[in-house]
């Protein structure tokens, strides 16, 4: 399958002339398309180091731009603008403003790891996508994505209790992202289950919601993890030059 690459040239920077005559020669047609010349003045030389300082971004420097990640990408097959190779290129070049044009879709990586499987240089592009999404959010370029909100709710529950309870994660997520709980497909799923499940199992599921599962003797692990999360947060803020302030 050929790589359907996003061109490094933005459509608005391409000029096609209908009737172009150069030095008396009519070059309209095949040779009439030119790239607008420009000077790049807004490199962020620290960009690669900043991404590399976030979890998952560590190996970005290994990339040799073969494009295997984009070629194997699940999301790229659905949305051709989702292009890990291109973003890795921009980050390594320090072309922050170009990267920011795609800021609203980078979080959509589904973590299928096809890129990491395909990568001949062990860049672990899946991690780079996550690091980049975090960088965008921490630098204030994007609001927290639904994916990051979901990760946070999930991690909060695991750290607090050792285990998760799925229905409370779903409810908290819909609430924090301002979505109604009564989704048509959720209702259809619940209805399909209610038709078949015996009363005993329904009661057990109901009890799990009321008495959320937890791991016995978790309190010390909880304290240790909370300390560690704070430590990570501090280190990341320092690496991104956001000061040593406490996490919001």
């Amino acid at each position: 399958m050929p790589i359907h690459e996003q061109s490094l040239i933005r459509p608005e920077n391409i000029r096609t002339h209908d009737n172009l005559v150069l030095d008396g020669v009519d070059v309209s047609g095949h040779w009439s398309t030119f790239i607008e010349p420009r000077v790049v003045t807004d490199y962020n030389e620290a960009l690669e180091d900043e991404i590399a300082a976030l979890p998952g971004g560590e190996y970005i420097h290994r990339c040799w731009q073969c494009g295997s990640c984009t070629n194997s990408c699940t999301v790229n097959a659905v949305n051709p603008d989702f292009n890990p190779r291109y973003w890795i290129y921009l980050i390594r070049m320090g072309m922050e403003s170009e990267l920011l044009r795609d800021k609203d879709i980078i979080w959509q990586c589904v973590s299928c790891n096809k890129c990491t499987y395909a990568c001949p240089r062990d860049v672990e592009p899946e991690g780079v996508m996550k690091a980049t999404a975090h960088w965008l959010e921490k630098k204030g370029h994007t609001p927290k994505s639904p994916s990051i909100i979901f990760d946070e709710i999930f991690a909060e529950q695991v750290i607090a209790r050792g285990k998760i309870e799925e229905s409370s994660i779903i409810r908290t997520f819909l609430k924090r992202t301002g979505q109604p709980l009564m989704q048509d497909w959720l209702i259809a799923m619940a209805r399909s289950l209610m038709m078949k499940l015996p009363i005993g199992l329904m009661r057990r599921m109901g009890l799990a919601v009321l008495f959320r599962p937890r791991t016995a003797g978790w309190s010390k692990a909880r304290a240790a993890l909370e300390d560690y999360v704070e430590e990570c947060e501090r280190e990341q803020r320092r690496a991104l030059g956001l000061g040593n302030g406490k996490p919001e």
Binding site: A188, K196, M205, T215, C232
Partner: protein, 310 residues
């Protein structure tokens, strides 16, 4: 049946999903183990592995979470094999094993967190983590399974769906792609082998390791619906009656987005979705109820009856 029984008694790590949406997988795994004489000791006081979410906060938290489970199995229960039927749990335990062996920083963080949490730290190599597929494939084998089939799956056409976490990334599964008899990361076949031994006809399914979008099943539901619909329609095009699953996230994703695709995109698919342990269970003569078919969202009871399996 003598020298092959290497997984007679193993530590069992069901994980959070198998106590919730994936309960049918829990029930059918235990029922199949019982029918095959493979004993499961549930890991005491286990915790969540972090699924696909906690690593995005920091991967080493996830390494610690998995290491605690393995530490309990090894140090408190004396086991050297942990069986995890959930692809997410299985993947994370494997990843923790790899990181603890190869990454000094992970080692240091896990040692520090374990000591603060008041339990023994996990040393790489203390346990072997296996999937439910390895457990049956290497514990009983196709011949052993064949000898126990009471209700052949003959005439059932199956698309075997393995998902992402069972084979990717390659480096955390050193035992795969290791020559004859080993599992393949590009074309996995353990589930195909087991279901074929139970009499089923496996269809040529091109999307065995495609992604169901499970990580974004709620946070970006539209893409998950598209990815799932692709899998469902490809299975139907390949002539499958059933998609066999081996992961609670994939399974509930397929069920949920089968409904969502019909509601939101008007694309209806009728292919059934069953855990491979449910299919093996009915082949071993267990009733659909015993393997939790009534707990699935997608209703396969009529289908199993029609095929003479209920």
């Amino acid at each position: 049946m003598s020298e092959e029984r290497k997984y007679d008694r193993v530590a069992y790590y069901p994980g959070c999903a198998l106590e919730g949406t994936g309960h049918a997988y829990n029930r059918s795994t235990k029922a199949v183990g019982k029918a095959l004489g493979l004993k499961l000791d549930e890991v005491k006081n286990w915790n969540c592995c972090g699924a696909m979410e906690v690593k995005n906060i920091d991967p080493k938290i996830q390494t610690y979470l998995s290491s605690r489970v393995m530490s309990i199995a090894a140090n408190e229960m004396g086991h050297d094999v942990v069986m995890a039927p959930c692809n997410g749990c299985y993947h994370n335990l494997k990843k923790a094993e790899y990181d603890l062996e190869h990454d000094g920083k992970s080692r240091e963080v896990v040692d520090r967190l374990s000591s603060k949490a008041g339990h023994e730290t996990y040393e790489a190599g203390q346990v072997e983590t296996i999937h439910a597929l390895d457990w049956i494939k290497d514990g009983i084998g196709e011949d052993g399974l064949k000898a126990r089939v009471k209700n052949s799956l003959q005439g059932v056409k199956i698309a075997n769906y393995y998902g992402c976490m069972y084979t990717r990334p390659r480096h955390i599964f050193p035992e795969k792609d290791a020559g004859p008899g080993s599992e393949s990361t590009s074309e996995p076949h353990f589930m195909d082998d087991l279901l074929a031994a139970a009499g089923a006809e496996n269809v040529d399914f091109p999307l065995k390791t495609a992604c169901c979008g499970g990580a974004h099943t709620l946070s970006d539901s539209d893409i998950s619906t598209k990815l799932v619909l692709n899998i469902l329609e490809a299975a139907e095009a390949a002539g499958a009656d059933v998609i066999a699953t081996e992961c609670p996230t994939c399974h509930s994703g397929l069920e949920m987005h089968q409904i969502r695709a019909e509601k939101r995109l008007g694309r209806k698919t009728t292919v059934k979705i069953l855990y491979f342990t449910q299919l093996l269970g009915v082949a071993l003569g267990l009733s659909p109820r015993k393997v939790g078919v009534h707990e699935n969202v997608s209703d396969s009871r009529g289908f199993l009856k029609e095929k003479g399996l209920a």
